[in-house]
C-alpha cells in the first residue's frame, strides 16, 4: 500500500477537462517532481489532492484511506500539507505566529477540542501556559532548522522573498505532514538561493520523515533533486520515469519545444 495513491482522477471545469485520468503513487520518503508546460494542469493536480477541488472521477487514498472530496482542512489534518505558487502567508502576523497557528492546530485533537481549548484560554489554566511555551519552543526549533529564527518577531510580509518561501515551507511542516506538496518552491529565486533550496529540501526529507511532491519549472533543480518525474501536458500524463529517461523522452521534448524539435 502506497502512502499516497491517486487513481485515475479527472476534473472538468464546464467543458474544459483540466485534468484527465491522472494516476500517481507516492511511497514514504519519496521525492517526486511534477513538471509540464504552463497550463498543463500541475497546480490543478495539487488542488485535487489537497482538497481545493473534489475530483469528478477517480479516487485519492492516503495510506489506504479515501480522502477525495474532503475539505482542505480535513485533508491537512490527515497529513497532507502544501505551499502555494503565489505565496499565501498571514502577512501582518509575526513569523512566529505564522508557524504557531499550525502547531496549535495539531495540539487540539479529541472530543470537544474546541470547547476545551476555549475554556482553557479564557480561564488561563496552567495547561494554557505550558501549551503556549511548548508551542513557542517547537516553533522556534522549526524556525531554527529553516534558518528563520532571527526573523521570528517580524511581520511575515516584511521578509525577503526567499525567506517568505521558506516560511511557507516551515508553516506546512508545522502541521506534521506525511506528504509535503511544494508548488514551485524556487520561483523567483536567484541561482544561489536555488542551490540552498535544493539542499534544504533534501534536508527536510531526511529530518522530518516526509514524502515530498513538488512542482517546479527549473529543470536543473528538478533533475538534480527528484528521484522520479511525472510530465503533464494538456491535462494528460505524457511520461513518467527517472530524470534521465525524461530528458530523452521525445514526447516531453515535443511538449516543451514544439513539434519538429526532435531531429
Amino acid at each position: 500500500m502506497s502512502l499516497l495513491d491517486v487513481d485515475n482522477i479527472s476534473i472538468r471545469f464546464g467543458g474544459l477537462r483540466a485534468l484527465g485520468d491522472f494516476s500517481f503513487k507516492l511511497e514514504p520518503g519519496d521525492l517526486v517532481g511534477l513538471i509540464g508546460p504552463n497550463g498543463a494542469g500541475k497546480t490543478t493536480a495539487f488542488n485535487l489532492v489537497t482538497g481545493v477541488y473534489s475530483p469528478n472521477e477517480g479516487t485519492i487514498r492516503l495510506a489506504g484511506e479515501e480522502i477525495g472530496g474532503l475539505g482542505m482542512a480535513a485533508i491537512n489534518r490527515l497529513g497532507i500539507a502544501r505551499t502555494f505558487q503565489n505565496i499565501r502567508l498571514f502577512g501582518p502576523m509575526s513569523v512566529l505566529d505564522n508557524v504557531a497557528v499550525s502547531i496549535e492546530r495539531c495540539d487540539s485533537d479529541g472530543p470537544f477540542r474546541h470547547a476545551r481549548c476555549l475554556i482553557r484560554s479564557v480561564a488561563r489554566t496552567t495547561g494554557f501556559f505550558s501549551a503556549r511555551s511548548q508551542t513557542v519552543d517547537r516553533a522556534m526549533h522549526l524556525l531554527e532548522t529553516l534558518n528563520l529564527a532571527h526573523h521570528a518577531r517580524r511581520p511575515a510580509a516584511s521578509l525577503p522573498y526567499g525567506d517568505q518561501r521558506r516560511l511557507e515551507i516551515a508553516r506546512a511542516l508545522a502541521t506534521k505532514p506525511r506528504v509535503l506538496c511544494l508548488d514551485e518552491p524556487a520561483a523567483g529565486m536567484n541561482p544561489q538561493e536555488k542551490m540552498a533550496l535544493t539542499e534544504l529540501i533534501r534536508g527536510i526529507r531526511e529530518k522530518f520523515d516526509v514524502a515530498i511532491w513538488l512542482i517546479e519549472h527549473d529543470m536543473k533543480l528538478v533533475m538534480n533533486l527528484c528521484q522520479r518525474l511525472t510530465v503533464l501536458d494538456h491535462g494528460q500524463i505524457i511520461a513518467t520515469g527517472t530524470p534521465k529517461e525524461i530528458q530523452q523522452n521525445p514526447k516531453v521534448i515535443e511538449a516543451y519545444l514544439g513539434e519538429g524539435a526532435v531531429h
Partner: protein, 491 residues
C-alpha cells in the same frame, strides 16, 4: 535539530522590554471595579448615600451596556474579520428574552400573597428552559435539514432540488388530505395513509405539553425552586436567570443563523446579517405576547414603590459593569489564545487557513456564537435598566453605532474599542447639555458649534467613519504596531 539560540528564546517567553504601558491595562481596571463593587459584595445597600443625577446615571449605564455590545462585536468584526451588521438583532433577542422572562414569569411569587415583584426566580428559570427547549429543538431540526441537503448535494448534484420537490409534494399531499378530512401532518386519525408522519405530530405534542408545564410559573416545581433560594437572593438570582437566558437564546440564534450565512464573505455576509437582524425585529414587531410595535414595560426593580432612576442605577451599576468587564476579559483572552490566532488567520487568508488545517466555518461560527451570547447579556441588561421594550430600539441604527465604535477603535483592538465606546457614547449627552457646562467666559459661538454638532451628530458619525477608512484603515485608536508578536509574552 539544535536547541533555539539563547538570545532569541528568553526574549520570546518573558514580557517584552518594549511592552506598551497599556499591555496590562486590565489590572487597574479590575482593581477599580473591585473597589466599586466591594460594598455590594459585602451586602447591604451599596452607595445608598450617593446622589445620582438622573441624566448622568442613565449615561453611565448606557456606557457599560455599550461596552459589552461593542467589545463583543469586536470579536466578530475585528478579530475574526467577519463584517456583521446584525448585532442589534442579537441584542434584541437577549433583551426580549430576559425582559419577558422576568415580566411574565419572574415577577410574582407563587406563595407570596402580597406579590412582591422580582421574587420568582423559579418561574423565570422554567420559562427560560421552555423557550430554550423549543429553540434548541427547532435548531436541531433546521441543522438536520441542512446536513441532509449537504449530504444529498454530495451524493448527487441535483439532490437538493429533488429534496425540495419532494418536500413540496408532501406538503401538497397533506393539504389535499386535510381538505378531504382524512388527517394530515401533525397527527390525525389512524386511517391517515401517511401514518409515519404522526411521529412528527407526536413530537410537537410532547414538546407542547412540556412547554405548557414549564410555562406555569405558579406550578409546584417553580415554587420549589423559588423557595429553595433565600429571600434575599431572589432578586439577584432572577436577574442572573434572565441574563443567562437572554445570552443563551441569542447564542442559539447566532448558531442557527451563523451556519448558513458564514459561508458568505465580505459584503454578502454584511447584507445577510443585516437581513437577519431585521428579520428578528420584524418578528418581534408582529408578535402579540411581546406587545407588537408598542412593546411592553419590563417588570423590574423600577416598579417598586420607592425606585427612582437614582436607586435603579445604584442597583444595576455593579451588574452592568461586571458584565462589561467579563466581556472585555473573555474577548481579550480569546484574542490572545490559540483560537484567537486562528481567527486572525481567517481574517488574513481563508484558503491559507484551511491549508494549515483550520476549520474555517467552525471557527467563524464559534466567534459568532460567543459574540451573540455576550450581546444577549448586554441586551438583557438593557431591558432591565431601560424598563421599556420596543422593537424600534433595536433597528439598524443601533448596529451601525456599534460598528462605528468598533471601526474607530481599530479592527482587532480591544482597548481601542473601549475608548471609542466611551467617547462616542459620551458625545451625544455632552453636546446636548452644552448650555449647562459651557463656562460663561467662553465666546458665544462655541455654543453654536456644539448645538450644530448635536443636530448633525449622525452625519458626523458617518463622516468620522469615512475619514477613518481613508486615513487610518486600522482605526484611529489602534495603538498596536502591525507586526507585534501576539505570542511574545505580552499577554
Amino acid at each position: 535539530m539544535s536547541t533555539p539560540s539563547s538570545d532569541v528564546l528568553p526574549l520570546l517567553t518573558r514580557p517584552s522590554r518594549f511592552a506598551p504601558l497599556w499591555a496590562n491595562w486590565w489590572i487597574p481596571v479590575a482593581i477599580g471595579l473591585l473597589i466599586l463593587l466591594a460594598p455590594w459584595i459585602e451586602g447591604g445597600t451599596p452607595y445608598a448615600g450617593v446622589h445620582w443625577d438622573k441624566f448622568w446615571a442613565r449615561i453611565t449605564m448606557l456606557i457599560g451596556i455599550n461596552l459589552t455590545l461593542a467589545v463583543s462585536l469586536q470579536l466578530i468584526n475585528g478579530i475574526a474579520g467577519q463584517f456583521s451588521l446584525g448585532h442589534a438583532g442579537f441584542m434584541a433577542v437577549g433583551a426580549y428574552m430576559g425582559g419577558y422572562a422576568v415580566t411574565a414569569h419572574g415577577a410574582a411569587a407563587p406563595t407570596d400573597g402580597d406579590a412582591v415583584p422580582w421574587m420568582n426566580p423559579g418561574g423565570a428559570l422554567l420559562f427560560v428552559l421552555a423557550v430554550l427547549l423549543v429553540t434548541a429543538v427547532s435548531g436541531l431540526i433546521a441543522y438536520g435539514l441542512y446536513r441532509a441537503v449537504r449530504l444529498l448535494a454530495r451524493l448527487h448534484p441535483k439532490g437538493p432540488v429533488a429534496f425540495m420537490w419532494l418536500l413540496l409534494a408532501w406538503l401538497a399531499l397533506d393539504v389535499m388530505l386535510k381538505t378531504k378530512g382524512v388527517g394530515g401532518v401533525g397527527g390525525g386519525p389512524a386511517s391517515n395513509p401517511l401514518g409515519a408522519i404522526n411521529l412528527l405530530g407526536l413530537t410537537i405534542k410532547t414538546i407542547g405539553a412540556s412547554f405548557t408545564f414549564l410555562l406555569d410559573h405558579s406550578s409546584p416545581l417553580a415554587a420549589l425552586l423559588t423557595n429553595s433560594i433565600p429571600a434575599s437572593l431572589r432578586k439577584p438570582s432572577t436577574l442572573i436567570v434572565s441574563l443567562l437566558g437572554g445570552g443563551t437564546a441569542a447564542a442559539i440564534i447566532g448558531f442557527v443563523v451563523g451556519l448558513p450565512t458564514l459561508r458568505l464573505r465580505g459584503d454578502y455576509l454584511a447584507i445577510a446579517t443585516l437581513g437577519v437582524s431585521e428579520l428578528i425585529r420584524t418578528a418581534i414587531t408582529n408578535s402579540e405576547p411581546l406587545g407588537r410595535a408598542t412593546g411592553f414595560s419590563v417588570s423590574t426593580f423600577a416598579v417598586e414603590a420607592d425606585a427612582s432612576d437614582g436607586t435603579l442605577a445604584t442597583y444595576y451599576f455593579p451588574w452592568v459593569y461586571g458584565v462589561a468587564l467579563l466581556t472585555i476579559l473573555i474577548v481579550w483572552r480569546i484574542q490572545h489564545s490559540p483560537k484567537g490566532r486562528a481567527l486572525q488567520c481567517l481574517r488574513e487568508d481563508e484558503i491559507a487557513s484551511s491549508a494549515v488545517g483550520i476549520d474555517v466555518t467552525g471557527h467563524k461560527v464559534m466567534a459568532f456564537v460567543i459574540g451573540a451570547f455576550l450581546a444577549g447579556l448586554g441586551g438583557s441588561l438593557f431591558a432591565h435598566y431601560d424598563g421599556y421594550m420596543n422593537p424600534k430600539q433595536f433597528d439598524m441604527q443601533r448596529s451601525i453605532e456599534l460598528v462605528v465604535m468598533v471601526t474607530l477603535g481599530g479592527l482587532g483592538s480591544v482597548p481601542g474599542t473601549i475608548i471609542a465606546c466611551l467617547l462616542l457614547t459620551l458625545l451625544q449627552p455632552t453636546l446636548q447639555t452644552s448650555e449647562q457646562w459651557m463656562p460663561h467666559w467662553m465666546p458665544h459661538w462655541t455654543l453654536s458649534i456644539t448645538s450644530f454638532a448635536n443636530q448633525y451628530r449622525l452625519v458626523i458619525y458617518a463622516m468620522l467613519l469615512i475619514l477613518a477608512m481613508l486615513a487610518r484603515s486600522r482605526g484611529w485608536l489602534n495603538f498596536r504596531s502591525r507586526g507585534q508578536a501576539t505570542l511574545a509574552g505580552t499577554t
